[in-house]
């Protein structure tokens, strides 16, 4: 941790010594063609696959169709890369509680809910979207595609092996297909640099990109500690790693960002408002992933942005109730009550508070909470089971 902080400071400090180079190539973005059509056999094939995959994503039950989330995400991308560049882009929001966003060769981008739960403001979101857009603009997918036709063979083999061992291979197929869009280390570095230029060009603070990686590293360490493992961060990139090690990446992003104009508002408030309607379900999904350390890190991260709101306190209580040591159950009851004090009004709160108390042996208090749940919600789908607990 100390080593990391020191190296970051050293690198950024070094970078600020040479501000003269800053302005020269900062705003030179690569040329682009509007309504581009694929040119070669390889590219046409790749677009065909991308079109098919986009169709799957468009119709996927995990897509978040309600509300204005996708419109908002697209607006952030457009704000960052410019209206003319983003005119042909489609953005799909997917309810998958992992940190990811990707962009296909045909201009379709998918953004996972786990990313929206982790970034702290619009600038950090824009940093990730801009990075993915840079891969698209530099046509990295195509170069990779040409050198990686072997992937298709691997897919065929996995289908056969899956048939024998009867393990579901659907997700493996998807992830292999994803590997067509996974890029080499040098391509990642190029996309990082171009992404930074988009950030700086649009007035977001260019330092946001580095902050995203630092936060991800901290979360992985928290997750490992929560599972009683050693922190996993590697501080150099391994030979076979396609992405530069997070540490190296964070340091280099900070270094490059220091050469660019500092940028203005990170638009934390706008981001918070856009995500607020979806936050409770994103939190529920995260809390049920059985990752105590990582989830706790995310919650404390969110609380720094908005303070401990009712939603966050409720999620924190759920996290402790799921781990369910006596200490956890006691804390859970406390957090449920705090959540109620902070304005959380869903009747689920009384039920879960009651269950937590009951599990901790505080029978009378537990029964009182469960009774008030049933009073507020007599036709609940679990009313019969709750009644049985009350009768015991």
């Amino acid at each position: 941790m100390k080593l990391r902080a020191f190296a970051l400071m050293a690198l950024t400090g070094f970078a600020t010594l040479q501000p003269a180079r800053a302005a020269q190539d900062a705003f030179q973005l690569p040329p682009y063609a509007h309504a581009y059509e694929p040119q070669t056999v390889d590219e046409r094939g790749q677009w065909m696959e991308a079109d098919e995959r986009e169709r799957q994503i468009r119709d996927c039950p995990l897509r978040i169709r309600e509300g204005n989330l996708e419109t908002y995400l697209r607006a952030v991308l457009c704000r960052e890369v410019g209206q003319d560049r983003c005119a042909g882009v489609r953005v799909y929001a997917m309810e998958i509680p992992k940190f990811n966003a990707s962009m296909m060769a045909n201009g379709a981008m998918d953004v996972w809910s786990g990313l929206l739960l982790r970034v702290r403001n619009e600038a950090e979101l824009a940093a990730v979207l801009g990075h993915e857009f840079a891969h698209f603009e530099l046509r990295h997918g195509l170069n990779r595609f040409k050198t990686q036709r072997g992937t298709s063979d691997a897919m065929a083999w996995i289908s056969v092996l899956g048939g024998i061992s009867n393990t579901p291979v659907g997700s493996a197929n998807l992830s292999l297909l994803g590997s067509v869009y996974r890029f080499g280390r040098d391509q990642e570095s190029q996309a990082d640099l171009l992404g930074l230029k988009y950030l700086a060009n649009s007035g977001y603070p260019a330092g946001s990109a580095s902050l995203v990686w630092q936060s991800l590293m901290a979360e992985e360490d928290a997750s490992a500690l929560g599972r009683k493992q050693k922190p996993k961060q590697k501080y150099t990139a391994g030979f076979f790693d396609s992405h530069p090690a997070s540490f190296e990446r964070a340091a280099r992003l900070a270094q490059e960002a220091a050469k660019l104009p500092a940028g203005g508002d990170a638009r934390a408030k706008e981001f918070q408002e856009a995500v607020a309607p979806y936050l409770p379900r994103f939190l529920t999904a995260q809390v049920k992933l059985n990752d105590f350390g990582g989830s706790e890190y995310i919650l404390s991260n969110l609380s720094q942005r908005s303070g401990w709101t009712g939603d966050l306190l409720f999620a924190r209580a759920e996290l402790h109730r799921a781990r369910a040591t006596p200490r956890d159950l006691q804390l859970a009851s406390q957090f449920y009550r705090d959540a109620k004090g902070a304005g959380y009004s869903n009747p689920d709160l009384d039920r879960n508070l009651g269950l937590s108390l009951l599990r901790n042996g505080q029978t009378e208090e537990g029964r009182a909470a469960l009774s008030s749940y049933l009073t507020a919600y007599p036709d609940a789908s679990d009313a019969k089971a709750i009644n049985a607990l009350l009768a015991n």
Binding site: P61, L62, P97, P168, A285, L289, A324, L355, K384, A385
Partner: protein, 194 residues
């Protein structure tokens, strides 16, 4: 010669009972999922050779993606429902001694979210039930796995007995299959004995 030997080994291995799927004939069957769980089906089922965990047994009629009965036979405290695919990065939640009946469906949900990347799952009805005289819970649920995106419905009955979790679930695609065999599952669980 060497090939003949290898073929003999392969044929021998695949014909041994532990590797083959087996027909479950009508009548009593004991020691299901290597536990003291027993059942008396009145029709034929197939037992899959695949084991998703030490005390897990799978029965099906048309294949486990179309209709699947899973027996979790006496999962002890501190153990997960299924064998963990990636212990370090995706550990599964464990059975705990102080679980309430409503924690049984919650355990199944959390397990599915980690193990099968199930991002959409709803526990629907929950009501008290007896599993061979032991106080437990009967519940229904609906979920979509990330690999095939088929909406499946499920029903389960479970109880903590002597510090071990006994749970039997039935899952099938909500379209056509779930209703088709639900009655057979209902009949099957009335015959469960511990």
């Amino acid at each position: 010669m060497r090939y003949a030997f290898m073929i003999a080994v392969i044929v021998g291995a695949s014909s041994s009972a532990c590797l083959a799927n087996a027909l479950i004939s009508p009548g009593p069957h004991a020691a299901i999922a290597q536990s003291r769980l027993s059942a008396t089906p009145d029709g034929q089922w197939n037992r899959l050779s695949r084991r998703d965990g030490k005390n897990v047994e799978l029965w099906t009629l048309d294949g486990d993606s179309l209709n699947k009965v899973t027996f979790f036979g006496g999962i002890p405290v501190g153990k997960p429902l299924l064998r963990e695919i990636d212990k370090n990065n995706r550990p599964l939640p464990k059975v705990m001694s102080n679980m309430l009946i409503t924690d049984i469906p919650a355990l199944l949900e959390s397990t599915y979210r980690s193990q099968f990347s199930v991002n959409q799952i709803q526990i629907e009805t929950q009501e008290p039930a007896l599993l061979d005289g032991n106080k437990g819970i009967r519940f229904t649920y609906a979920f979509t796995r990330a690999d095939d995106e088929v909406l499946r419905k499920g029903e389960g009955i479970g109880a903590m007995v002597g510090g071990q979790l006994y749970l039997v679930t039935y899952e099938a695609p909500s379209l056509y299959f779930f209703e088709k065999d639900l009655e057979k599952f209902h009949k099957l669980i009335t015959t469960l004995k511990l």
